[in-house]
């Protein structure tokens, strides 16, 4: 079976300072240098892995270790500076789920727009409209401008639209942290449905029970490189060891 995601020698660097100045050299065709200029750091480097269809992968690691950056590279909304990222099939990104919505338009218009921008046909949108609205529990506010929505409603609508897409790969970045308990349960069920329907899933979460619930495989990112690629339990225990070791070191010092 052909893998759906193949990352080979993946690397991306960012500038440390927020200055806007760039070198004109980047306009020329010279290949990116291996030694980076001062003031740049590699958010990810030498990351190589592949994912088969139907796998559920949990990304494990501390803050700022490259988890979200990796998701964005898979989603194709960031481009690697080194290596290649090959993704076969479309991606439904539950990253910034409310990003596609426009404050001035009504919920009805926004659903059509966002689903359309993500590639759903007009017919499909019409067919699934009721389902989207029902799942998001916004039936009474269809003609309300989106900016008047509460933050919970915004996220519910976003989650509902994105998970209705037909894309074979689903990326989930911490969205489960928001919403009340009953809605979270609904989200879990929706995600389980997606998985049993054969979708490939990438999940970023600091919540261990969320990760255990969905994922079998784990990638542990540490300092921008892939420290471990194995089962989720392996990744979690390695991460746990690292955290414990750091805590001991800090205790010894202090």
């Amino acid at each position: 079976m052909q893998p759906v995601i193949e990352a080979a020698g993946l690397g991306i660097s960012f500038r440390r300072n927020r200055g806007r100045r760039r070198r004109l050299r980047e306009l020329s065709g010279s290949p990116p240098q291996t030694g980076r200029r001062k003031g740049e750091f590699w958010a990810l480097r030498d990351v190589t892995f592949s994912v088969d269809p139907g796998e559920a992968v949990g990304l494990v690691g501390g803050n700022g270790q490259g988890k979200s950056t990796l998701l964005k590279l898979i989603a194709g909304v960031l481009l690697p500076d080194e290596g290649t990222m090959l993704v076969r099939g479309g991606v439904a990104p539950l990253i910034e789920v409310t990003g596609g919505f426009v404050g001035d338009l009504t919920a009805r218009d926004n659903i059509a727009l966002t689903a359309g921008v993500h590639g759903l046909s007009k017919r499909a949108i019409a067919d699934r409209f009721d389902e989207i609205v029902e799942f998001a529990e916004v039936g009474d506010f269809l003609d309300t401008p989106f900016r008047h929505f509460s933050s919970g409603m915004k996220v519910r609508l976003g989650f509902s639209v994105i998970t209705t897409l037909d894309e074979p790969i689903v990326l989930v970045d911490e969205v489960l942290a928001v919403g009340d308990r009953s809605f979270r349960e609904k989200c879990y069920r929706r995600m389980e449905d997606l998985l049993s329907g054969g979708r490939t899933m990438f999940l970023v979460s600091h919540n261990v029970s969320d990760l255990r619930r969905f994922c079998t495989r784990g990638l542990y990112l540490k300092g921008g490189s892939l420290a471990l690629d194995g089962t989720l339990e392996d990744a979690l225990s390695r991460y746990g060891e690292d955290v414990a070791r750091r805590r001991e070191r800090r205790a010894a010092r202090g």
Binding site: R21, L27, V77, I95, V97, G99, G100, L105, V117
Partner: protein, 270 residues
């Protein structure tokens, strides 16, 4: 879908996504007209005001020796396309920033954000054309047979502006100065383009050498072509038009390359 795509296959992907483009453009129109009572008037107010001012200054305050009669029609013929160009330059520099969340959450071929700017502004241009027709009717100006070239002019300008937008969009994200610089340049270019005067006026006054230099500006031949729709005698020959067509094609090719090269760095900044 591979993330790294050749220019040709990117164009193919863009074509497949034309429905999304249509959606974005109609959203722009919807948003523009959703909350404003004046709605349609806003898309014609600016070119009309500009044309009105020059018409007032040149025909009422000064004795006009430029252009043709009726001067207001002469002005509008070039003013409306100019407003389209100016609008695209401004909009494309904000194309990636304005809806950065949307750009960051969808894996569309990102050229689409520039095309959306070009087409949204074209919609404004098209919506303002009835005003030109109205003034022509009021002043008894009749279209010449050159009016058949109108769609050609639109096509040339569309290609030109797409190329320009593809270059400016990522540059404006990466370099803060680009926007201010372009605003200044566009103001200069307005007077260096045949809007308040015609290419013929330049040729009559400047002699062959300087007027040859003048038509290096791709807008010279382009605006001249628009103008022949009402003033066939304004046709300045093939050379200026050749420059316009040539630079449109070159700019588009250059734009596709520049955009592809700067897309990655620009995405990190938005």
């Amino acid at each position: 879908m591979a993330v790294q795509l050749r220019p040709a296959s990117r164009l193919a992907t863009l074509w497949r996504q034309r429905r999304v483009l249509q959606l974005l453009v109609s959203r722009d129109l919807k948003v523009k007209y959703a909350d404003s009572a004046l709605g349609y008037l806003w898309s014609i107010v600016e070119p009309l005001l500009m044309a009105g001012i020059y018409w007032f200054v040149f025909t009422k305050l000064m004795t006009r020796s430029l252009g043709e009669d009726p001067y207001i029609v002469f002005l509008l013929c070039a003013m409306l396309p100019w407003q389209w160009a100016n609008g695209v330059v401004r909009a494309s520099m904000r194309a990636l920033n304005k809806d950065s969340k949307l750009v960051r959450s969808t894996n569309l071929p990102r050229e689409i954000w520039v095309l959306r700017a070009v087409l949204s502004r074209f919609a404004d241009f098209a919506l303002a054309l009835p005003v030109l027709a109205l003034f022509a009717a009021l002043n008894g100006a009749t279209p010449s047979w050159h009016v058949v070239f109108f769609p050609v002019a639109v096509l040339i300008q569309g290609v030109l502006l797409t190329g320009l937008g593809l270059i400016l969009a990522p540059l404006a994200v990466l370099y803060g100065d680009v926007e201010r610089l372009m605003r200044l340049l566009m103001r200069l270019l307005f007077f260096l383009s045949p809007v308040v005067y015609g290419v013929h006026d330049v040729q009559d006054r400047l002699g062959d050498g300087l007027s040859g230099l003048y038509v290096i500006n791709p807008f010279a031949g382009l605006l001249d072509l628009y103008r022949t729709a009402f003033f066939a005698e304004e046709w300045a020959g093939w050379a200026p038009l050749g420059v316009s067509v040539g630079s449109a094609v070159v700019l588009l090719a250059l734009g596709l390359v520049v955009f592809r090269r700067l897309e990655g760095p620009a995405l990190k900044e938005i």
